[in-house]
């Protein structure tokens, strides 16, 4: 039986692991390669690595760090942040990423999704959708780490991303992110019902039952950052909780 995945997320800025609240207020949480290795050893099913500065000067440093992580970590690694063209995707995959995640660039130029999927296969292509409630019962997609509305309905954008070749969607609720109050389950349900690819839930995990609820809502994977970085809960504790909810996890 296919297991649901528990995925620690490493937000990396200038080569350091950081954690923000509502996409702001960053604080230093250590070396990301060490963290990736530690989480893999603790039973993480996958590691998501998001480069949040994404400047040109950071790119070489990012590739070096991904190379180190790929050599030390024997679970899948999804890397994103600053992937503006297929060549960036190629560099990340050659550095050792298993999947490449992209958020802002495809909102500007949706054909990037096809280019990545054609070259590397849909299983390598993750489209990250940052969504915020629009006050009318829907959600808007945001670009640039949640700073700028993209003028697109998030559910429509999810459908279009998959039609263009996304093999997975990483769905972050901007409203919930960093609040530790739980994921936006309505957003997850709406997207999971709209697309035939795996969905990774993100934004708002504060307790193990939050991850279980996201998985019960239909997500194939639940991503969390602070809950793990702060040592509040271990991956095993989360998996025990998910198992209690009757959902299959890798033990």
């Amino acid at each position: 039986m296919l297991r649901r995945r528990i995925v620690p997320c490493l937000d990396v800025r200038g080569g350091r692991l950081v954690k923000g609240v509502n996409f702001e207020a960053l604080r230093d949480c250590g070396d990301p390669v060490d963290a990736a290795e530690r989480y893999a050893g603790q039973g993480a099913d996958e590691i998501v690595w998001l480069n949040i500065s994404a400047g040109e000067e950071d790119w070489r440093g990012l590739l070096d760090a991904v190379e180190q992580a790929a050599e030390r970590v024997d679970v899948p690694l999804c890397v994103g942040g600053g992937v503006a063209d297929a060549e960036h995707g190629r560099e990340l995959l050659l550095a050792g990423a298993d999947k490449v995640s992209s958020n802002t660039a495809p909102l500007h130029r949706p054909a990037l999704i096809e280019e990545l999927a054609d070259r590397f296969g849909t299983q390598c292509v993750v489209v990250a959708i940052d969504a915020a409630r629009d006050g009318e019962g829907g959600w808007q997609a945001f670009a640039s780490a949640g700073r700028r509305a993209a003028g697109r309905d998030a559910i429509q954008w999810a459908r279009e991303s998959v039609e263009r070749g996304a093999g997975e969607l990483l769905v972050t609720s901007i409203d919930s992110d960093g609040t530790l109050g739980g994921y936006d389950l309505e957003l997850l349900r709406a997207i999971c019902e709209s697309v035939p690819v795996p969905v990774v839930a993100s934004g708002g995990a504060g307790r193990p039952e939050h991850l279980a609820a996201a998985l019960e809502a239909g997500a194939q994977a639940a991503l969390a950052a602070s809950i793990f970085h702060d040592g509040r809960h271990t991956i095993s504790e989360v998996k025990e909780e998910v198992n209690r909810w009757g959902l299959p996890v890798r033990r």
């Binding site: 039986m1 296919l2 297991r3 649901r4 995945r5 893999a40 099913d45 996958e46 190379e67 790929a70 050599e71 030390r72 024997d74 679970v75 899948p76 190629r90 995959l93 050659l94 550095a95 050792g96 990423a97 298993d98 999947k99 054609d118 070259r119 590397f120 296969g121 849909t122 299983q123 390598c124 093999g167 997975e168 035939p196 690819v197 795996p198 194939q220 994977a221 890798r250």
Partner: protein, 204 residues
């Protein structure tokens, strides 16, 4: 420890993880895109990421299809991983392309799944007493939308269930073997499987 391992580089992307996984096991790994080198190798790993048709084009352009066939003919041990496993068969429906034909059967899209790609950790259950057969409780990492349909049921060493239907996830015939899952991404159980593959006696 066994002799050196040639990891075939045909532009298929993530070689680093496979290389690192083999090296952690003490293997002497040479990454090569050279047909003559591959043809002489006693242990060969064929990785693969992406789609079957461009992968076969890349292998043919480098003469690696013939080189792999030659090595297998000589009694070399070959392991295909993910798309690399699918390429071992006769034909793939992904792009409608003829493949290496080292195993009898074809590759088809997974038609029945509720969600594709089949992405994540799933059981790999032994179907035979083959030396590569997984131990009970083996769970490995998958990322694919196509699956192999071996012509000979005896080639299915292990299978995996997805949404109520089973498919071949570990195949072998003679010294040609393949995994649909990624052993290099499957933690300790993947490591153990690669270690056993490295111990397979070669004839070449």
């Amino acid at each position: 420890m066994s002799g050196p391992v040639t990891l075939i580089d045909y532009g298929a992307g993530n070689l680093r993880s496979l290389r690192a996984a083999l090296e952690r096991l003490g293997a002497d790994v040479a990454v090569s895109d050279d047909a003559a080198t591959v043809a002489r190798s006693a242990r060969i790993v064929l990785p693969g990421v992406g789609a079957a048709a461009p992968a076969m084009r890349a292998l043919r352009a480098l003469g690696l299809d013939a080189a792999i066939g030659e090595a297998v003919e000589r009694g070399s041990s070959l392991l295909g991983v993910c798309l690399g496993m699918q390429l071992l068969f006769e034909r793939s429906a992904e792009g409608g392309v003829d493949c290496l034909g080292l195993l009898e059967g074809r590759v088809e899209r997974i038609g029945w799944a509720r969600r594709l790609p089949h992405m994540g950790w799933n059981d790999v259950a032994a179907c035979s007493g083959h030396p590569l057969a997984p131990a009970a409780g083996t769970v490995c990492y998958f990322a694919h939308s196509y699956r192999a349909v071996p012509a000979d049921p005896a080639a299915v060493v292990a299978d995996t269930e997805l949404d109520g239907t089973r498919f071949a996830s570990l195949v072998a015939a003679g010294l040609v073997a393949g995994t649909q899952f990624h052993p290099e991404k499957s933690g300790a159980v993947g490591r153990e499987l690669l270690a056993r593959w490295l111990e397979v006696p070669v004839a070449a």
